[in-house]
Amino acid sequence: MDEQLAGYVSGLYEEHYGGLFRHLVLSGSTAAEADDLIQEGFLRLFRHLGSGREVDNPRWWLLRVMHNLRIDELRKRKREFTLDQPEFTSLIEQLRTEGPDAEAQIIAREQEAHMQKAISKLAPRQFQYLLLRAEGLKLREIAAMFRVTVQTVSESCAKAMLELGRVNDES
């Protein structure tokens, strides 16, 4: 183990901190918990690499480790997934509204309002699956993380995606 590895992991930390922080906050962690999870995740990566093992895709590896750490923590608290952190404040309200003109902006706002409504109706698991899928994880990888079948993840995601895909058709 040398300073070179510490430098490499620190570089990854700097590069991925923002994305991982946002993912964890959207997944239900508070800012403090997210910060702790990221630190712990990167420490584990440091130990993992230090022991001579390899990691193909550090971001996915970290997502999986942090997910497991979070599950452990939630099990300790005997709670299922929640999105009850104060930092979730910004989740729905802070959508960009960049329209070329006022009318387009109003339409965009209405569409966003429908989307917000549809997303707020998603079940927690659906939200988690879509979040991880948006991070680039395969359905089978998500299934492995949650210890469910690929079909369960696929059914859940497909239902949610169809609902979101039909939002403005129905409104």
């Binding site: 510490a6 620190s10 930390y13 700097e14 901190y17 923002g18 922080f21 946002r22 959207l26 239900g28 800012a31 403090a32 910060d35 630190q39 990167f42 420490l43 230090g50 005997k78 709670r79 299922e80 929640t82 999105l83 009850d84 104060p86 930092e87 979730f88 404040t89 910004s90 989740l91 729905i92 309200e93 802070q94 959508l95 989307m115 997303i119 707020s120 109706k121 079940a123 927690p124 939200f127 879509l130 979040l131 899928r133 948006a134 395969k138 359905l139 089978r140 690929v150 079909q151 696929s154 059914e155 995601c157 497909a158 239902k159 995606m161 169809l162 979101l164 895909g165 039909r166 939002v167």
Partner: protein
Amino acid sequence: MNRKLWQDRDGHPSADLLLLHLEDELEGRAAEILRAHVDQCAACRKECEQLQLGASRFTAFRDSVVVPMPAPRTNAFHERLLREEEERSSASFIGRLRGQFRINTPRRLAVAFGGVSLCLIVWISLFLSSPRQSVYASQLLDDARSASDSLIAHSKVLNQKVRLRRGSLVIERSVHHGRPAPVEVREPSIDSKLQQNLDLAHVDLNDPLNANDFAAWRAALSEHTDTVQETAQGVIITTRATGAAISEGSLTLSRSGWRPIARSVEVRGEEPIEISEVSYDISDSPSMVAASPIGALAPSAASNVNAAAAPVEVSTTELETSELDLREAFHSIGADVSAAPEIGRSEQTVLYHASTTKPGEMEAIREAASRIPHVKETEKQLARLAEPPPLAGGSGAYTTTPPLAAALEAKLGDAQAVAGFLESLRSRSTHVLAEAAALDALGKRYSVDAIKALPPELRGRVNRLAASMLSSLQHDSADYVKALSPTLDEMAHERNIAEPSDDGTNLPGCLPWQQNAALAQPQLQDLAKDVSLLFVANRTEKPVVLTSDQLLSDSLRARLFLDLHLMSTCQLFGAN
């Protein structure tokens, strides 16, 4: 997979199969069959398009969310990695030492442990004044400056309202980081001694929480020691000076964003100077500041008031802040549940009324309230906040026969055990109902729209308060359900009453916490009422024959709802 599986969809594959096809997660023959079908089927292609559209909309949604984020402390993390490596090395070193010095019996190990502990205590004392704490303090100050620079680089303006106190003297300032520096204003009412101390501590009255000024004061000290302490509010850097007029200074940085939120200056032989952030917001451009909630508080330095000299006009934001301070203070001592305080507002004051039978609680409530500006106690009841929890009894002419009272006694053994069990349930039920009522009252006071109208800092605080209250409610509800469940389940089993199935209708998905609070209360009330009717005689206005099956079914349904809805599903905290 084969075509048989598609038959329930009129010969078309289901959406989950289409998704697996789109994601290339099907293999072999199954993949070929499905690809061939989709190529020829316009309806399935359309469904695929909708799946892709839904996915891209979710991704766009995720990308558009702005999460307040602290700057990554890469340097600190890098240090932690190096420390980790040192610790690992030292662990193996200790192993070698144990072998070398034959610390191989428990007694020898205990002696060695004692010696090492003593060394550690000495080392920790030295560490607290060591250069490493100074390095950490310097890094934190750098982080604070970087965070401020980053805001400016992104064309953001940090608007802070800051209050300086020394004894009875109060001075307020509005500071806008990211805008051109204001014309320097000297406060006419402060004495020359205070001004001198402010100058010595590098405190600029026009920007009293500036991290650069704190860093400059610290750098100018010939000899100093630093300590860094992490608290719930933030990270406090305390610098103690040797032989200087200013004996100690501290700067508190918020955990999210490394924004300076408080500063203190200890002057030898004089009252300390305390500076704290009252409110803040981040706006996009200087033109937005005037319209922002805190922009109206002190648009110019001329409006800053010395409280000792003239009464301060209380703004809406200050009243909001005081009310929230009060609610947080009540929550922190548990009075929000046990004393069911009513909180209201007059034009210039936050009023509260509380009543409690708990010894010493009223004093604690008054003590907590006395520390918050613009708050007064009132004797008058302000509003009826919540329904009282239902109690077994009633006042009607008829007495019900509790259908499972005898079964409960047979199960528990004797009347005393039954009384103990019922009292334990009643006490838990009363408590969770009071918690649910308090949360519901908070939800009614701070509706989704009301929260939207608050400045961001207050918005976050309301949501944090609600999250904390909900967390207690979830924990205590789980405890209540756990105490009740074995008896309930056993009796339902004996009577062949099936557990209501979770068909998804009980899961309302993510709701704002206000709606969840409003839904939880009646469910808890129903459960308490059903359980009471099952085991305890009640008085009713009309003759009623209670059936155990119906009451048990209702109890199980209410429990399932609480389990799925209150304790397991997600809660949205935000102005959605």
